[in-house]
Symmetry: C2
Subunit: 726 residues, 2 copies
């Protein structure tokens, strides 16, 4: 037998087109590129079609020319090829990895070394083996990874960083490295495919039809997040998710026998997966090929292909050893490996026949893409409305005026908990945002996250949009990252109690880093949740996220502020948002506004003149009401008091100096902040002469009003502090 499944996988992974991605400019009216070129992918011969002259820009800007998987149809059509050429391709990848790690004197040669015979994927959950991914992109002709990039592995400003980063390197789908994240992202990507296929395919037009491949190692398998996500994948019956488990028995500390002796096969069987074991993962091309075929035949379950490999295969002295996991082989061992595998070439050399072999994917892929384009054009004629929705999701271009769906509140509107107001927003937005999809970690009725017009996304109802994540916060966050990075018009949201961000912070950081615009609906945001006590009451969480780069931390105070937070969150497709929401009822306050929220901090009421209040009272969320009450009292005593809502520190920081000065004039040092949370960080806002009222210890179990009183989070405390600082 001689065929090229290892390469067909590459092609599946690489048959993409460049789709300019809109960030916060997401309304139809702002769209600057024609819908036709965006939604109907032009197969670019695996070259980037970025509008810049030769290469996409480096670093952050790169994600604006993000590529997207269209279909895996290419996998099915490749003819068989001879084993020698496959061997040679595999060795090319192997030595590109070895050479790059050697040049950087840093990196993890073990994984690309051991797994390159397994073929390609979309998500390299074992992200430390990213040289495999770079080598494949390079061979496939991606101009994002040229020979010079391979030589710059792990260097400043390169497109080949130490772990795969979607915002650095076109062709990389998601950012991995922290173990377990990638497989959970893959579950999200596969969910997205199943959902879109169910929603938009027609009996006469299968326009969504692709696989999600993932490679994960022992490290990923040990992480709890992987079990969470894989349990859901089994529950949802994600038949087009195919995960390769690189079973090499080596992790950084040595043989996995020292800490990992469970039966992974049996566990995945328990999780509802189909399991295939490829015993010879080093050179068993036929077995791997057969396994993929079998995996595809099983359509109601995800498949785990356990591929037993030798880490550092080919290295005569370091194969099968932890020493190959996280360090360069060394010049001597590189030579010995070259000898052993009969590889006479210079470092970074790609033999001509390998280049030629890979280049033939280009016309094949282009043909397939043209075929798909024709199919979609027909679909668009027949099903105009569906086509428009699908385009909206595929392109991240929202219907014009979507934000008008958000309600506006007045002080006369009866008060409500911001968690309930959040549900109002979700239900208002669901009809106008086709990509809005999400749910809660078994707290839907507490987090108030159900979109009432939809049913549950389940194995047999994948067209629905309420996702039931179960009590799996970390998996939930990473699955949402996968959904967000599948298509820029998806607006995934997920929910739990704010305190349990501690369980999914790993995924939330990756949202921020990888520019995945997930909306985190975090209710029960303070001691205001009452009786459940200190295990459930967040204290340090607001500060902890204010310190995190590229994430928006909102703490809305009422209806208008909840609406405002949603408006910014939906618009921010490249920056995740966290909404900290109250369990308890809050009044609609005078002066709050959607526009104010967009500025992060703004004045809600003020009886001073000339930008010279006697004192500025600053609150967030449920404590803005307290600040407003204190202001009323102080004004009765003749004080000129300004009340400022500080709903998002990040947005305020981004305003002009002039605007900031108009809200917090530097001449006014009499400032009091109140927030039912750690005071950490508030010194910057209230200044050294101001006073921050907050909670710098853990909470307590009691009815909320009692805790507020005992902890001194009261109007009386604000009044007293104001008098102190005035």
């Amino acid at each position: 037998m001689a065929a090229s499944t290892s390469l067909t996988l590459s092609q599946a992974a690489l048959s993409r087109s460049a789709v300019p991605r809109h960030g916060s400019s997401t309304t139809a009216t702002q769209q600057s590129t024609s819908l036709a070129t965006l939604s109907i992918p032009t197969f670019s011969g695996l070259k980037s079609t970025s509008t810049s002259s030769s290469r996409a820009p480096t670093r952050r800007q790169v994600s604006s020319t993000r590529r997207r998987v269209i279909a895996n149809a290419a996998v099915e059509t490749l003819e068989k090829t001879d084993t020698a050429l496959v061997d040679k391709s595999v060795n090319t990848i192997r030595f590109l990895a070895i050479d790059a790690v050697e040049k950087a004197n840093s990196g993890h040669p073990g994984l690309p070394h051991g797994l390159c015979s397994d073929g390609d994927r979309f998500v390299l959950s074992a992200g430390h083996g990213c040289m495999l991914q770079y080598a494949l992109l390079h061979l496939a002709g991606y101009d994002s990874v040229l020979e010079e990039d391979l030589k710059q592995f792990r260097q400043w400003g390169s497109r080949t960083p130490g772990h795969p980063e979607n915002f650095e390197t076109p062709g990389i789908e998601v950012t991995t490295g922290p173990l377990g994240q990638g497989i959970a992202n893959a579950v999200g990507l596969a969910l997205a495919e199943k959902h879109l296929a169910a929603r938009y395919n027609k009996p006469d037009a299968e326009i969504v039809d692709h696989y999600t491949y993932c490679i994960l190692g022992d490290g990923c398998q040990m992480e709890g997040i992987a079990n969470e996500a894989c349990s859901l994948a089994g529950h949802w019956g994600l038949g087009k998710l195919i995960a390769f488990y690189d079973d090499n028995h080596i992790s950084i500390d040595g043989d996995t026998e020292i800490a990992f002796t469970e039966s992974v096969d049996t566990r995945f069987e328990a999780l509802g997966w189909h399991i295939i074991w490829v015993k010879n993962g080093n050179t068993g091309y036929d077995e791997i090929r057969a396994a993929i075929k079998e995996a595809k035949a099983v359509t109601d379950k995800p498949t785990l292909i356990k591929v037993t490999t030798t880490i550092g295969f080919g290295s005569p002295n370091k194969a099968n050893s932890y020493s190959v996991h996280g360090a360069a082989l060394g010049a001597k061992e590189v030579d010995a490996t070259r000898q052993n595998l009969g590889w006479p070439y210079e470092p970074f050399h790609v033999p001509e026949e390998v280049k030629k072999h890979w280049s033939r994917h280009t016309p094949e892929g282009a043909a397939l893409e043209a075929e798909w384009n024709t199919k979609f054009a027909e679909y668009e004629k027949k099903y105009a409305e569906d086509a428009a929705e699908l385009k909206s999701i595929a392109e991240g271009v929202f219907p014009a005026g979507w934000e008008k769906a958000l309600p506006i509140y007045t002080p006369e509107t009866p008060g409500d908990a911001t968690r309930n107001l959040s549900q109002t927003m979700l239900n208002a937005l669901a009809p106008v945002l086709p990509g809005l999809i999400g749910g809660s970690a078994d707290l839907a009725s507490s987090n108030m996250t159900l979109m009432k017009m939809f049913g549950d996304f389940q194995k047999s109802t994948p067209e629905e949009r309420n996702v039931r994540f179960g009590v799996r916060e970390h998996g939930m966050g990473a699955i949402c990252n996968g959904i967000a990075l599948h298509s820029p018009g998806f607006v995934p949201y997920c929910a739990t109690f704010f305190v349990f961000t501690d369980y999914m912070r790993g995924a939330m950081r990756i949202s921020a880093l990888s520019e995945a615009g997930v909306i985190y609906v975090m209710t029960h945001d303070s001691i205001g949740l009452g009786e459940d006590g200190p295990t459930h009451q967040p204290i340090e969480h607001l500060a902890s996220f204010r310190a995190m780069p590229n994430i928006l931390m909102f703490r809305p105070a009422d209806g208008n502020e909840t609406a405002g937070a949603y408006k910014v969150a939906v618009e921010s497709r490249k920056r995740p948002s966290i909404l900290a929401l109250s369990r308890q009822k809050l009044p609609n306050l005078t002066g709050t506004s959607i526009e104010g929220v967009a500025k992060g901090g703004y004045t809600i009421t003020d009886n001073s003149t000339g930008n010279k209040p006697d004192v500025i009272l600053i609150g967030t969320g449920s404590e803005l009401e307290i600040a407003a009450k204190a202001a009323d009292e102080l004004r009765k005593e003749g004080k000129a008091v300004r009340v400022v809502s500080f709903v998002s520190w990040e947005l305020f920081e981004e305003q002009s100096e002039e605007y900031k000065e108009s809200v917090l004039p530097s001449g006014v040092t009499a400032r009091v902040s109140i927030e039912a949370a750690s005071t950490f960080g508030w010194a910057k806002i209230v200044g050294s002469k101001g006073k921050a009222i907050g909670i710098d210890k853990f909470g307590a179990s009691a009815p909320a009003p009692k805790i507020y009183k005992e902890y001194g989070i009261t109007a009386e405390a604000v009044i007293a502090a104001a008098k102190e600082v005035c």
Copy 2:
């Protein structure tokens, strides 16, 4: 059949004695209570033997009279009793739970309601069902939970908070509520037992021999942390861990079918557990009894007893419904349930025969304890050295002068990475601290955590002290909490890269809240780790822990500071510590000291007089060297410069105002801080006229010196800022 297994479990859980627990006063010389009364438990008839007149003090002080499990021998000796009485006991517990939740109008009656027939435990992982635990403690005669406490369920200042808290209620072992934590704590408790038994038992004296029981529900089962910990429990063969899985098919969002359809039995089989299924968990006392017997007979594997129950059993209209999970039943349904189960009593009533039945455990337990005391006295004579060590662990009293084992450094000592210095400390402390035990999440060779004189704690070598956690950070943290709370003289440490605290923050918060003195050895603490890139480079993590209550965040700069951090961390048995350590080599600086670290912030060099420097440069960890270099340059230019190490903000905050003024005089507003991390929070230290140099974006993949330069974390930047603010 008529016996009382459900009660034998209670007795196993409750046969404890009060062991005064030492906090930071841990040297033998400071010991104020005789060893004999401490180490040889006096069975107190299940009453607290606290020295206070009647009851132990409320809230935080309570943990100083913490109780400890001695042995489960009691379980074996109870005679059978009649079913009617068991029923009545079970109903008593059931209605105490119903009545307390009803009175509080808050709580989760479902679990105690459904599970009270399952008997007792040490760890209620499903912590929301804590009324089960309170009712059992009450029936068992614990004076920590009197009738008045039950009536004060979930009220301010009560001993019956909304979730079980070891620091509030004597008799509660660990703090649970956040799902999955408890089962992982139980793995830690069982590890501790297995370790102590292997180390101290002799062929003629089995002095350590007890079981760890745990109850977990569907929610715990879904959490990744539970899978992590249970995988390790199977790997370690923790045969004396018996977990009851309350399989009631209901979670908050409804039937578990909506998100949880995996086969839990098969998964646990894969993890190496013994599985027993009790099909009638509502009334099948015999089955439960038989299951416990079988579980004990399997000595090489932990056992999961899956107990199928009906949530809200006995409630005619709400049983088997999510509506019973998280809210009071309501007066009408409480009445209906009383009718249905034939319970004629007033709320909170305990029938006389039930009281009597439970009270008989007291003399039985006392007899067993006396037996053990005799055995230990013999052991002490024969094996004095072992007995002394075991006592040290059991009592938290460290050998006098242990801290002298810590090395002292001078600027002439060659520099080293603080992660390597940390390993030096661990290896210096291991011989003098018998309770020091720990390891890494598969990064031992990067975190430098091996104690070289010991082997690995494994199934067949449980007497060893290096623990191999695998890539399971969250499970690792919670297991260490269990070890810490098993015996106050355990000093558990665990390690990973600092950025991966994101994966175990849930457990770390519980360390802080539940006063578990775990030492978190967190290496690769900044962009200084270099090539692995932004997924691996912490930015916001220092700030995020500085905001967390009751945890010490250390960032030592060199040898003396690493030693100082370890000194405080070891002493702090009721406050966890995090040590952020460098990957890169750092010099030993002039002026650093162990004593300085204990104050959190201190001057290392100063050429000013009269406490009036021109400028104060403040650094932590690897950047203290940069501050020192900048000071050298500025002094050459004639400036009076003070350099302050700010190694632990929490400790500095606790110093006297006078001391603080001596380090950071309020008159000196020219201050510059430098730290390769988020500047969030530094405004409080440098003031509004100072300048904080840091990193408020994500890191990058490149060699460390290059990133430092590009990110402006340099002496030049400090000098420029100093000149600006002077």
